[in-house]
């Protein structure tokens, strides 16, 4: 059974009366506990793809399955982390993290406890009473991650979650994401612009074509886990990164991709 199974997904948007085909007959399978990274040129529909997977956007055609059941709309078993933290500025960190539980009708005591557990998991102990405007960018994105984890999703989707952060913070959060993955056992689908990040985190890197987006290459990353940037696997990462880079270059030209 796959955690995520997409078949023949097409989706277009109406831009001033003209249809813009963003996804075209796209297939995707993600196994349970797998980490899959999706890279592709700007505007190729990566973010649209994540929104289709989590049910925020309905595809024009095709089917979306999570653990063999249809995804018809947002559901608690699939969590999404946005590119920006999107914390509610009038709530402190604890109540921001507890927000999805509050909406789901979880009682105060239980949601506070689960939110605190999520804060602990993301290294935000001691920040529960802080407000979003008191957090650094990295801390705010940690809080957003904690909020996505609070409902204990089986699948975690990340939409370029660390792209706005500086390189050092980003590497640290990449490390922590792997630790979280080890602790929560969730399946992760990650969209990123960074080839090194894609390779470092994932079991497989999928390369998308220019719009309309389709999968044009798949690069397995066989480096052993737990991974670290300084360990022996560095050479393996760079080989896989070269392969992704090579796949991205022809992907820019549709006739080669076809």
């Amino acid at each position: 059974m796959d955690a995520i199974e997409l078949q023949g997904i097409s989706r277009s948007f109406d831009i001033k009366g003209a249809p813009l085909h963003v996804l075209d007959q796209l297939d995707l399978r993600v196994a349970e506990r797998e980490i899959v990274a999706i890279v592709g040129p700007n505007g190729c529909g990566k973010s649209t793809l994540l929104r289709v997977i989590c049910g925020l956007l309905a595809p024009d055609s095709g089917s979306v399955l999570a653990f063999d059941s249809t995804v018809a709309g947002p559901e608690p078993r699939i969590g999404l982390v946005f590119q920006e933290p999107r914390l509610l500025p009038w709530r402190d960190v604890l109540t921001n993290v507890a927000f999805p539980l509050e909406l789901a009708g979880v009682g105060r005591a239980e949601r506070d406890e689960r939110a605190r557990a999520a804060l602990h998991l993301t290294g935000l102990d001691g920040f529960a009473e802080a407000f979003p405007d008191q957090l650094s960018g990295g801390m705010a994105q940690r809080a957003a991650l904690a909020r996505a984890l609070a409902p204990e999703p089986d699948v975690l989707l990340l939409d370029e979650p660390f792209s706005a952060l500086d390189a050092m913070t980003r590497e640290r959060l990449d490390d922590e994401l792997l630790r979280l993955w080890g602790e929560t056992g969730s399946t992760i689908v990650l969209v990123t612009h960074s080839i090194p990040e894609a390779v470092f985190l994932s079991d497989r890197v999928l390369v998308m074509s220019e719009r309309p987006g389709r999968m044009v290459a798949e690069v397995p990353v066989t480096a052993e886990r737990p991974r670290s940037l300084t360990g022996g696997g560095a050479a393996m990462f760079s080989a896989a990164a070269d392969e992704v880079r090579a796949a991205l270059t022809p992907a820019a030209k549709p006739e080669v991709a076809a």
């Binding site: 946005f82 999107r86 009038w90 650094s136």
Partner: protein, 275 residues
């Protein structure tokens, strides 16, 4: 709040630093300019009275008005009228504010409702309340209810518009966030839209509260036997007590200021200032 990490203690320190001045220093800093401006105003007023040599029944000096203000409160004549007006203002603000917020939400939510209702709401606002008040008094009598209605009408519009603009300008990314957590329409409104729009709603309430005072006075002029508006007419007419008329005007102005400051205080409590 625990200061377990450097960043947390930095935030803590930033907050602790601000109120490090003593409260007396702050009082001088905050209230000093207000008192200074009031002194200048009173001096200019007195100077005009002295230089122009106006009799008290045309322009009483600040001393005479202050005296009448004090005696008006001690002999109870201002007090009874004051409570009538204050209750009209508060009830009108409550009715108009509630209706305004609900209308604003409706207009922000439904383009159809906005197209259908906006012209009439704007037209109603453009019609001077001064012209409407006698008509309302004619239809509904000169009781408390019709005076509250006039107060409510005048503060309804800015609050409706403020709420509409506030809710329309909610960050769509936060709306999407709510959708990703399956927020119901009601949850979206209560947990995302209204808190986001609260600064605008309270800003329009600041305008509404001062307008409600104007509404009460206008309503009392259109008919009524009690209230500060009635007292102005009495002081100018049958009593011919011009210092009392000025003392009443002062009371009205102070009421408006006090209500405004209460709204500002509520705003400070509810809306987090960016740190």
């Amino acid at each position: 709040m625990s200061a377990a990490t450097p960043e947390a203690s930095a935030a803590q320190r930033a907050r602790d630093h601000a109120p490090s001045r003593s409260w007396t220093q702050r009082a001088v800093h905050d209230i000093g300019p207000v008192i200074g401006a009031a002194l200048v105003f009173v001096l200019v007023w007195q100077a005009i009275v002295v230089i122009g040599d106006y009799p008290p029944y045309i322009l009483p000096g600040p001393g005479a008005v202050a005296e009448r203000f004090a005696s008006g409160w001690t002999d109870g004549i201002i007090g009874t009228h004051f409570w009538t007006t204050l209750s009209e203002v508060l009830l009108g603000l409550f009715v108009g504010g509630t209706a305004g917020v609900l209308t604003g939400i409706l207009l922000a939510r439904s383009r159809l409702a906005a197209r259908m209702l906006s012209p009439y709401i704007v037209a109603a606002q453009a019609t001077p309340i001064l012209a409407l008040a006698p008509l309302i008094a004619l239809w509904f009598g000169t009781n408390l209810g019709s005076r509250v209605l006039i107060c409510a009408l005048i503060c309804y519009f800015p609050i409706a518009v403020g709420t509409m603009v506030g809710i329309r300008s909610v960050d769509p990314k936060l709306i999407e966030l709510g959708r990703s957590f399956r927020a119901s329409r009601r949850q979206r409104l209560m947990h995302i839209e209204v808190p986001s729009a609260l600064p605008q709603i309270l800003g329009s309430l600041r305008i509404g509260v001062t307008l409600a005072v104007v509404g009460a006075i206008v309503a009392e002029w259109a008919g009524g036997d009690s209230g500060l508006g009635v007292l102005i007419n009495l002081a100018r007419g049958s009593m011919f007590d011009i210092p009392l008329m000025f003392a009443t005007l002062l009371t009205i102005a102070l009421m408006g200021m006090a209500l405004y400051l209460i709204v500002v205080a509520i705003e400070r409590r509810l809306v987090r200032a960016p740190s």
